[in-house]
Structures are given as structure tokens and as C-alpha cells.
């Protein structure tokens, strides 16, 4: 009988907190959007599934051994922990958790040994997160794979489109300002590190967003990643109205001259040039842009095709699976069901909007100073969201003029946006760490 009661008290139905139920529904919603609406399924299927797993009550898959010990709410375990921390007065498990989070690294080690002796283990998703994201490796490896899949030909044929990619990054920084503004007004409690991590959503680049969040605001990572990938999937809905509002029908009809052929040598040299400039001017962007350029060099140099192929297939796929599940581990109810998440979702869409607008406006500005006219519709592709944003430019171009194929022209600012976001990420990480944030 005791055993039956034990089984019931171990069951999910008995243990389920309302927040966990909500998060399981959120996970199912993400799966629905990914599978039925084709919302960035490569990431949102693992993220959604991982989010459900992270919220299975009693399974503690997303918790470290210490967190599992604290959440066990076993009075003996709690007193042992409190004693080891030198905590004389405490009431609930929450007090102990709070105290634990303020220990230094050496003390964390002591507690980790203690809970290991008591038989607690890290949860599966916690381990995935530690190895894949906390170490920084998974976003970097994905960025390498993206580099190996990127063709810089259109950008090299028309390097000026880099300015469009630069302008669109204003979405990032405007959002940073929005987030600190919310804190200033007392609406939210974002630190400047949080604000920087939220801003990067506007980069429209998944691995960059995850990399920055993991360094500056790990507890917001789940919401930031979900926002970034969801809005990327929504680019075909978010961008067109803004693009139409800021351009005249005449502008949308501008036909661009065909791109010149780019030689293989130029393509090989480009990632090396970027790398050297990073080394000279922007060391803080070295991990992201370094791996990106490495992937691209492997692709273009033509002598390591087997490595390039693996970077584009087996390696990026394996990493994506674990990255997605790991992000899902940050969808635990206590972290995601927070007013901050609403703030992040609101700021994220504003970031996309501003980035889109600035890209279009920059194209119009450049037309004032140059004879070679740009169709301003390609400016919106500067936000990245490769290749979705370029496709949106192409679609609107065809609507305005059925013979106007903008796809290749828009690929230039599109990949420029990837570089731009990585630069922005490097600057922000460096500055925020300098601010003691």
C-alpha cells in the first residue's frame, strides 16, 4: 500500500505544477508550428520537444544534481545542504537555492561533492546544455557549418551591399535601448547584459543569438532563442508591410544590373580577408567570425571537400539535435513563465521591424549618392534570416515587376547581415563584460 501511494506520489499527475502544464502546452504549440506551419523546424522541433521533457514533473531532466537535491524537498537533504553552506537560518528550499546561487566556485565544488555522495545526478538535458551551450561549442560549430554553406559570390560581386547589412543591425541596438528603457521606466528588470542579449534577436541569426545569450544572460536563453527562431519563421509576414510602406511602386520596380561572375580565387581569399580584419580590429568577434570564415574557407578552397561536406551535414546535424534539446532545457516553467518573456517577445518583433526598415532606408539613401541604383527591396534582406529574407525581397520585386528577379541581389545584403550581427555580437560581449555586466 505504501508502495502504491509512493507510485502515485511519484506520478506526473500528482506532482505537476500549473506552470509545468502550461510549458508542456507551449512545447506542443512549438511542435505544431514547426511541423504543420513549417516554422524553422530544424530548430523548433528539438526545442519544443526538449521544452516538454524539461517540464516533466519529477523527472528533473533539466536540473543539475544540486538543483535536483534542492527540488527533492527532502528535509534531511536540505539540512545537509544548509549545513554545508553554513546557513544557520532558513525556511524553504527557495532560501537554500538562493544561497547556493551566491556561492563561489570552490564552494560550488564542495556542494557538488556532497550531493554526489547523496546519490543525485545531473539531468540528461542539463548535461546536454553544459556540453553543447555553456561551453560555447555548439553555436560555434553550427556557425562553422553555416559558413560552409554560404556563397559570398553575390556579396563579392557588389560589395556595397555590405552597407545594407550594416544598417539593418540598427534593429539590434534600438532594441538594446528599448530594453534598458523598460528597466529605466521600471516596467521590467533587465540588466544591461540582458538588454544586449535581447537585442541580438534583431540579428535574425539563431546561433549568434544563442551564443550571446549563453554568455550574457543564460537564464533568458530559452525565451530569446524561441523568439529569434519564431520571428525568423515569420519574416514573410513581418517584413512585407514595412517594405511596402517605405518604398514607392517606382522604387520597387527598379531593375538591377546583372551581377558579374566572381572568380574562385576571390571566393577563397574573402574569408581570409575577413579573418585578418577581425584580427586587426575586432578580436572580440574572433570566435564567431573565425569559425564562420573557417567553414567558408573549407568550402571554397576546394582541397578539403570531405571536411567541408562533414561540416555541412553530419556535424551540423548532430550539433543541431543537441543544441535544440539544450535550448529546450531552458524552457523550464520557473524561467520561461516570467513577465520578462513577454518583454522579450515584444522587443524581439520590434527589433525585426526596425532592422527591416533601416535596411530599406539605407538602400534609398545610397541611391541618392550613387548612379548604380539599388532596388530598396533588397535592403530588408540585411537583417539576415538567410535565405528567407532574400526570398521575401524577391517576391515583392516580382509583384512590382514580373521580370525583376532580385533573389541573387538580395543574397549580398543577406549574408552581409550575418557578418554584421556577428560584429555586433562581438562588440556587445566585449563592452558588457567591460561594464562588469
Amino acid at each position: 500500500m505504501d508502495n502504491l501511494i509512493g507510485l502515485w506520489q511519484d506520478s506526473g499527475l500528482y506532482l505537476m505544477a500549473p506552470g509545468q502544464l502550461v510549458m508542456i502546452v507551449v512545447g506542443l504549440l512549438l511542435l505544431y508550428l514547426a511541423i504543420n506551419k513549417n516554422f524553422e523546424p530544424l530548430l523548433l522541433v528539438p526545442i519544443g520537444f526538449g521544452g516538454i521533457l524539461a517540464n516533466i514533473p519529477g523527472a528533473d531532466l533539466a536540473l543539475s544534481a544540486t538543483e535536483a537535491a534542492i527540488s527533492s524537498a527532502n528535509p534531511e537533504v536540505l539540512s545537509a545542504l544548509a549545513q554545508a553552506m553554513g546557513l544557520e537560518v532558513w525556511e524553504t528550499a527557495k532560501d537554500i537555492k538562493y544561497a547556493f546561487e551566491h556561492l563561489n566556485a570552490a564552494e560550488h565544488g564542495v556542494i557538488a561533492n556532497l550531493v554526489a555522495d547523496m546519490g543525485f545526478n545531473n539531468g540528461m538535458l542539463y548535461n546536454f546544455y553544459s556540453v553543447a551551450i555553456a561551453s560555447g561549442v555548439a553555436p560555434l560549430v553550427i556557425f562553422m557549418g553555416v559558413g560552409a554553406m554560404t556563397d559570398f559570390g553575390p556579396l563579392l560581386a557588389n560589395p556595397k551591399t555590405l552597407f545594407l547589412g550594416a544598417a539593418a543591425q540598427f534593429g539590434i541596438f534600438a532594441t538594446v535601448l528599448g530594453a534598458v528603457g523598460m528597466s529605466y521606466l521600471g516596467w521590467m528588470d533587465f540588466s544591461v547584459a540582458d538588454a544586449a542579449a535581447i537585442g541580438i534577436i534583431g540579428g535574425a541569426d539563431g546561433p549568434t543569438a544563442i551564443y550571446v545569450s549563453s554568455l550574457l544572460a543564460p537564464e533568458l536563453l530559452g525565451a530569446i532563442a524561441v523568439a529569434a527562431y519564431s520571428y525568423m519563421a515569420l519574416v514573410p509576414l513581418i517584413q512585407p508591410p514595412i517594405m511596402r510602406a517605405l518604398t514607392t511602386a517606382e522604387e520597387r520596380k527598379i531593375v538591377m544590373t546583372q551581377l558579374r561572375t566572381v572568380s574562385r580565387r576571390e571566393k577563397i581569399t574573402f574569408p581570409v580577408v575577413v579573418l585578418i580584419l577581425v584580427a586587426l580590429f575586432l578580436p572580440s568577434a574572433a570566435p564567431l567570425l573565425g569559425m564562420f570564415c573557417f567553414g567558408n574557407l573549407m568550402k571554397e578552397c576546394g582541397v578539403v571537400d570531405r571536411l567541408s561536406d562533414t561540416a555541412q551535414h553530419a556535424l551540423i546535424n548532430i550539433t543541431t539535435i543537441f543544441l535544440g534539446l539544450s535550448v529546450g532545457s531552458k524552457l523550464a516553467a520557473d524561467k520561461f513563465l516570467d513577465p520578462k518573456t513577454m518583454g522579450i517577445l515584444a522587443l524581439g518583433i520590434v527589433a525585426f521591424g526596425i532592422g527591416t526598415a533601416m535596411g530599406v532606408l539605407m538602400a534609398k539613401l545610397m541611391n541618392k549618392f550613387s548612379k548604380q541604383q539599388l532596388n530598396p527591396l533588397i535592403g530588408s534582406a540585411g537583417v539576415s534570416a538567410v535565405p528567407m529574407a532574400a526570398r521575401v525581397s524577391n517576391k515583392l520585386g516580382l509583384e512590382a515587376n514580373p521580370h525583376n528577379f532580385l533573389l541573387m541581389h538580395a543574397m549580398g545584403p543577406n549574408v552581409a547581415g550575418v557578418i554584421g550581427s556577428a560584429v555586433a555580437a562581438g562588440v556587445m560581449i566585449s563592452m558588457v563584460q567591460g561594464m562588469g555586466g
Partner: protein, 81 residues
């Protein structure tokens, strides 16, 4: 404190956006120079990648045959990658 965070946000924006523009401007210049140097010094020294310049199927091949092979490979590819 409240003031400070606002100040920090403004700083982030100004220096961040500035760095992005400066870096990409330098990159535009460097890329343009690089393309010029490469196309002047090594014109067509290296042929385009074989993959990029896959020879068009020889004329005279039965188009039905081509379609079949293409379908077979498509199917194969969809299963194996």
C-alpha cells in the same frame, strides 16, 4: 543606478553601431582592393570550381533517360541525406 543603465544602453548603441559601420566599411574597401588585386594579378589563373561548372549534359542524350536518372538520384538523395 537607473540613470546608469540608460547611459550604458546609449553607449552600447553608439559604439556598437559605430563599430559595425566602421568594420563593414573597412571590409568594403578591403574586398574591393582584394578583388582588384586578384583579378589583375591572377586573371583566370584558376578555373572555376568543377562543381560550379559542371559540364552540361552532352547533346544527343535521350531526354527520357536523363529524366529517369535524375529521378533515381533524387529518390536516392531524399533517402540518404
Amino acid at each position: 543606478m537607473q540613470e546608469e543603465i540608460l547611459q550604458q544602453g546609449v553607449d552600447l548603441m553608439l559604439f556598437g553601431m559605430g563599430t559595425v559601420f566602421v568594420f563593414l566599411t573597412v571590409l568594403v574597401i578591403a574586398t574591393t582592393i582584394m578583388s582588384g588585386v586578384v583579378s589583375r594579378l591572377f586573371p583566370d589563373a584558376v578555373k572555376p570550381l568543377p562543381a560550379a561548372a559542371a559540364p552540361p549534359p552532352k547533346a544527343g542524350v535521350d531526354p527520357k533517360l536523363q529524366a529517369i536518372i535524375k529521378a533515381a538520384i533524387e529518390k536516392h538523395r531524399s533517402r540518404h541525406k
